[in-house]
Point group: C2
């Protein structure tokens, strides 16, 4: 297999899904505005809707959307276009909810290369930080209710709507739990690797990989429970490798590509995969440096460089790259088993995408 060709083909397919979806997403917000049951006297309510739309459209490669459409293509036949579109809308709205609330929790000024919703409000009404917090929180709540309402409002068979709602609710609850584990991590000194795995399973893998797979299959009128264990293994390995890539990029990546400063994790004191490993392996004197820099919001760029150097000295950056490729490979192998029931082209997509995701940004 020629890797270069796979990579180009992968990018082309993902862009195709993304472009198609962007048009759908815009038209969803357009018609929502027309039908929305909100009194004309409010200026803030339409603004909240604008902010959900703006953040959602700012999305990058739309891996989740590609997963939904490709999962439907796993099943022979055409599937229900209205169902797969509904699923994609629901998944991206749920993601918007997650991001908006996550940025309040982390007090994060930037997201996807622009201001976070929280800071967008803070910039608009700088003299009223409490109101900005309230409006951002409510905008996130709105994205969550919309993500479920889009299913309820679609003209789907009752059993399909009910199942879709159930899985999206499970995904929503999972992301809430994942964010709770994420906060908990910072209370634990050096947490177990299992907790780090749980954070990315609950916070990302279930809503960004598992639910898209489930909903795509459901849109093809296939019961995903037949393949439940395998879908979960795939989503988990894909999620862990993706988290490791993000952890790597947030230390060593190009800010212009990642859309957030490559110093944030250090200054926020987040115990990511590489930070955890280096905390376990550092010498006493290195540990002193780490403890004096990690979690210090006013740490200088030189301080952060010191942390990077200690990570490199222990070759933790190399180990991390090896590990993330290993998990990507594991996901890929899991997808290979789907050829017993899935269409070849879509199986090839799911086999290729974990490795493609690794190489693309590195």
């Amino acid at each position: 297999m020629n890797t270069t060709v796979v990579t180009d083909e992968m990018g082309r397919r993902i862009s195709g899904h993304r472009d198609r979806f962007q048009a759908l997403f815009k038209s969803y917000f357009h018609s929502l505005r027309g039908s929305w049951d909100a009194p004309g006297l409010s200026h803030f309510a339409p603004e909240a809707l604008d902010r959900v739309e703006e953040l959602a459209l700012r999305g990058g490669k739309r891996q989740r959307v590609a997963f939904v459409y490709e999962a439907m293509s796993l099943v022979p036949g055409t599937g229900r276009q209205d169902a797969v579109d509904t699923a994609a809308l629901s998944i991206e709205l749920l993601q918007a909810h997650l991001l908006i609330h996550d940025d309040i929790i982390d007090d994060a000024p930037t997201r996807r290369g622009g201001p976070s919703t929280y800071y967008a409000y803070r910039n608009t009404i700088p003299d009223r930080p409490q109101h900005a917090l309230g409006l951002a929180l409510l905008t996130g709540d709105l994205a969550l209710t919309l993500s479920l309402q889009v299913i309820a409002d679609a003209a789907l068979p009752a059993w399909m709507a009910q199942t879709m709602t159930q899985w999206q609710l499970t995904a929503a609850t999972s992301t809430v739990l994942g964010q709770i584990f994420d906060l908990e991590r910072d209370f634990l000194g050096i947490p177990d690797e299992d907790l780090l795995h749980s954070v990315c399973d609950y916070k990302a893998a279930r809503s960004s990989a598992l639910a898209p797979l489930q909903l795509g299959l459901l849109a093809a009128e296939q019961d995903p429970r037949e393949h439940d264990e395998s879908l979960r293994r795939y989503a988990w390995a894909f999620g862990v490798s993706g988290q490791m890539r993000d952890d790597y990029l947030s230390l060593f990546g190009d800010e212009k590509i990642t859309g957030k400063p490559a110093t944030a994790d250090v200054r926020d004191g987040r115990v990511t995969y590489p930070i955890r490993t280096v905390l376990l392996t550092a010498s006493l004197s290195e540990r002193k440096v780490l403890d004096s820099v990690l979690g210090r919001p006013d740490a200088s760029d030189a301080d952060v460089d010191d942390v990077r150097q200690i990570i490199r000295d222990h070759r933790v950056d190399r180990t991390l790259l090896t590990d993330m490729r290993r998990y990507a490979e594991r996901a890929s192998q899991e997808a290979a088993t789907w050829s017993s029931w899935g269409e070849a082209e879509a199986v090839a997509f799911f086999r290729g995408v974990p490795v493609w995701g690794m190489e693309r940004l590195l």
Copy 2:
């Protein structure tokens, strides 16, 4: 009609529904804990669940719950007990979501006579206010997903589950919009009375009166859309009269009964019904006093007393009592029309409860 008898009977019925529901609620949380898909390594996740339960059980008279059960009794026959219980659980969980997020938005330390969820976290981890905010926000998110999951998990016919989900989603979106209008109110100087009506319609009436009525009828397998306009009129008038009562109590009420300080609205600068009226009618010198006290968190008790005196001088307190009784009477008259299709005893409940709610605390 003997008012005293009506009042006692009303209290007895509401307590009956409440006591029955408290047992149901406890057993719901008990079984949720047993089945919950959350890794054992987290301490914070079960704590979030505990906090939802604790706040939800701290509820007062449970007017919403009484509405659900009485609405089912409007329809001849027995109705579905599993459906009405599911509806009641969903409605109280949605209310918990609303309260938890509302107290973050308002930075409110107390709720229902105890600490708000936000401040409960702040008290537990006083050195980490940002984490406390995050955990409270996520606990509120959790209450929202649970309020819908309880419907998805119940063994109801698909059409009934779908309709219930749809209405609860509409109620949830309404409360979000109502909270947005609520924040907007504080930006507008002296807002239109229509905006105040919209705040209580969206923030309270739809989730606390309309949705319980709809879901109770649905549990009796009756399509509430047949009575849609009348149910909405009832819920609206009931909601406005209830809001006026709360506004009155939050100025002149007994803190031991209301569970929150009778100075909060003044110090927070909330433009409630009475504050709006007095702002419109105050003389220039009185207006100076009002402007210097309203919205000043450090206003003294004597300052707040000055505001109360100006309100009394303009007889705004008397007008408010007259208005709230007028709206309660309007709701009562609306319920009287239901005797053409509803069972007499339940119709009497809905006729009596608006006035009962007025007199009980005054």
